[in-house]
């Protein structure tokens, strides 16, 4: 077990398991999302929360999804789980090993949920039932998918608590959630997610609510158990550091659409969508000179109720012009590197400079 207590800053330091040590992904696709749209009718009009998302996840692969709040990253993953509120309108297809989850009967979808596809939520403080023991909550996950006795289910629960690094697992089965710290509860959530040997773990900002020191431990644990059960991970976060440290590929979302997808190294070093460049530019650098300021992206994302025509990022984009950018929304298209796609009319201008983030430095200087 790792005892990494060093505060992680910017890019994460892993003393324990890293992505490089873990088993590589295979070519077998387990999940393919195609043209997924999700809409919510509200009092103010229809919210187009997800507007056409395509991606795939391979066996044992870690796919990171980044984007700010409201970019549709959580909504699209809840669609995979089938846990969207009843008023949501979902279109497109989500194929798990070839079968479309959206056209499944609820009963079949439920039998996959928590068994083949598991989920870890953002806030471990509220995600566990306060009035049931940890043991009961873990055993319940086993019992709802396997015909075993309660005793066997509890034995499995104990094994999982041990695996995620909870000391004295036998005694802890009888504890209630309020007797655990936040980090420990998130370990319990991880145990619950892997208890049925899933193929895919969806982790929705699993470390956002935790202390920085605990964050690294939880992420390491996640990589460790992923190999234990041979699962792929869909890592949803707004923390680029997390993606850099533990994802094979990254999908960037903006205003309900994917705007860039590719291998983490490629996307981080050669962003081809100005939004991603802006995100990278807004990170603090340890090696930055003393007087260098942080460089935020100015402005806010558009409303998802009346999405304006053209590129949704254009009002905030230093590269935007008055023609294509405001009239047509760019499609996700291949750019210079292999398996690297971006949705920008002017991606080639980013390719021409050494440091694409420089555009944003100029922009924020101008706004001063």
């Amino acid at each position: 077990m790792s005892t990494n207590t060093e505060p992680a800053n910017g890019s994460r330091v892993h003393a324990g398991k890293t992505l490089a040590d873990s088993l590589p992904p295979s070519d077998e696709e387990i999940l393919r999302v195609e043209d997924l749209t999700v809409e919510f009718p509200t009092d103010d009009g229809i919210v187009h929360a997800v507007r056409g998302v395509d991606y795939s996840v391979r066996e044992r692969e870690v796919l990171g999804i980044v984007g700010e709040s409201g970019s549709g990253k959580s909504v699209s993953s809840m669609a995979i789980m089938g846990l969207l509120p009843g008023n949501a309108r979902v279109h497109g297809s989500i194929r798990y090993r070839g079968t479309d989850l959206l056209r499944m009967r609820e009963k079949e979808h439920r039998s996959l949920r928590g068994d083949k596809i598991a989920m870890i939520f953002q806030d471990p403080m509220t995600s566990l039932n306060p009035v049931q023991t940890i043991g009961d909550q873990l055993a319940e996950a086993v019992l709802s998918h396997h015909l075993v006795s309660r005793k066997q289910a509890l034995a499995r629960a104990k094994e999982m608590l041990d695996l995620v690094g909870i000391p004295r697992p036998e005694a802890r089965l009888k504890s209630y959630p309020h007797e655990f710290s936040g980090g420990m509860r998130q370990r319990v959530m991880i145990a619950m997610a892997i208890i049925n040997d899933p193929d895919l773990i969806i982790a929705d900002e699993p470390t956002t609510a935790l202390d920085v020191t605990v964050q690294a431990q939880i992420l390491e644990k996640l990589l460790e158990v992923k190999d234990e059960v041979n699962a792929a991970i869909l890592m949803i976060t707004h923390d680029l550091g997390v993606i850099a440290g533990m994802a094979h590929r990254v999908l960037v979302m903006y205003a309900g659409r994917p705007v860039e997808i590719g291998n983490v190294d490629v996307v981080f070093n050669q962003p081809r969508m100005p939004y991603m460049a802006g995100l990278l530019g807004s990170l603090p650098h340890l090696d930055a000179t003393e007087h260098e300021r942080l460089r935020p992206i100015v402005g806010t994302p558009p409303s998802l109720i009346n999405v304006p025509p053209g590129c949704p990022f254009s009002p905030r984009c230093p590269l935007a012009d008055d023609s294509a950018c405001v009239t047509t929304e760019p499609e996700l298209a291949p750019v210079d590197a292999d398996e690297h796609y971006a949705a920008c009319h002017h991606w080639s201008r980013l390719a021409q400079v050494d440091d694409p983030t420089a555009y944003f430095r100029a922009e924020s200087e101008r706004s001063r």
């Binding site: 846990l83 439920r110 928590g114 939520f121 509220t126 306060p130 009035v131 319940e140 309020h178 619950m192």
Partner: protein, 505 residues
Amino acid sequence: MLAFIARRLFVSVLVFLAATAVVFVMAANVGDPLAEARQLPPGPAQESAMAEITERMKLDEPVFVRYFHWLGSALTGDLGVNVTGRSINAMLENAVGSTLQLVLAATVLSIVIGITIGVISALRQYSGLDLSVTFAAFLFYSLPLFWVATLLKQFVAIDLNNWLADPELALWVIGLIALFVALFCAALVVGDRRSRVTTFVVAFVAMCALLWALSETGWFADPGLGIFVIALTAVAGAIGFTTLFSGLDWHSPPMRAAMAAAIAGIASALLLDPVLRDPNLATIALLAVITAGVCFAIGWLLGGELYRRSAVQSAMFTGLFTGAVIFTDRLLQSFASYSDLKGGRPVSTIGSGTPNFQGTFWQSGLDSLGHLALPTLALMLISLATYTRYTRASMLEVMNQDYVRTARAKGLPERAVVTRHSLRNGLIPITTLTAYDIGTVMGGAVVTETVFGWRAMGRLLLDGINQGDPMPIMAFFLVAGGAIVVFNMIADIAYGFLDPRIRLS
């Protein structure tokens, strides 16, 4: 947990003691106990009457001295005498039984029905059922109790008695009742429009046919279920409870256990006929305990290792339910003879029981029910609305919690999500509500008893206030305040039982 309860109990008793002092001081100043004596013509007769009352009530001593006098004798169980010298203990003995019966019946029924309706309404949020329930709850909540009670007494009782003389349902009444039942059934169904419409039509036709048959055969004048209906209801109960606890599966061990319990119940209904002709309360209680024990064993044996818990649950609920059906059947069978005893007017409007009533266990049971029914109904309406509204709000709040989402993400069926995760958390705030509500119900009982002419606790209180006599007022407060303290304790214990976070502190 024990220490927590003991501490709460200690504080409650202290607070209650302080409250007796407050109430005593107010009760001693509420009126002039000598008012009646002052009306007498002046002279020695008046003087001796006033002297007698002054002596009896110790009116020449300060209030605090009188309070400690009262407290001293109350602690030994003597509640003193009223202004005319009658023993309060004797008056209380007659009064307390009927009032507590009324209050408990109204409270228990409101809690059970209110929570059930509240949960259903929350699960079907914004459906027609939910909107009607919400509106009805608002309406009931806004009704003045005395007004409703008077209406019930005047119209329901009298009209019902008139109708029972020649019980035939008009076609439009049948249609109306069937319409309501069918709408309710349709609202309960999950699924698309077609399955709702089907349910509605089936329920409507079935209900119409049933009511028409009952009306034509004169069932309402001489009701009863008969072994066939008992058997049918028991089996339906077995299926229902099993579906609720572990899902509908004909060959699962819980279903087998529930069916076995139902069959055992039906068999005992036939075998126990001689015992059930005129039992007493102890026999009934013993039978209930035996039923629970037998059903537990059935569930334990048939459940096997994998299904023990849910099999025991299903079997016990089915068994007790079947017992209740048999009990109801016996009561209904005695209805015709009871009605004859009452001269054909079985629903009573005055008093808490027929004076000097002689009859079988079932007939006296009906007599109590006949007197209790309308006051309880009146008293229930408001509490029922409170429980429904709070349960609905609490359930809606809980169903939106992260841990309910976690339960769904585990792949639990919706039934298990509701019964295992939402319900228990949703009921936690309701326990506190019970403690508050009991005080309101005690006050409501005073009003209801007044309307229905009961000589019970309400009379005691009102006489005390009108005559400026603290002793009956204190007797009322001992019972009412005591009930509030006891219910607070029950609520605390239930809270601790439901919420492990409390057990630590």
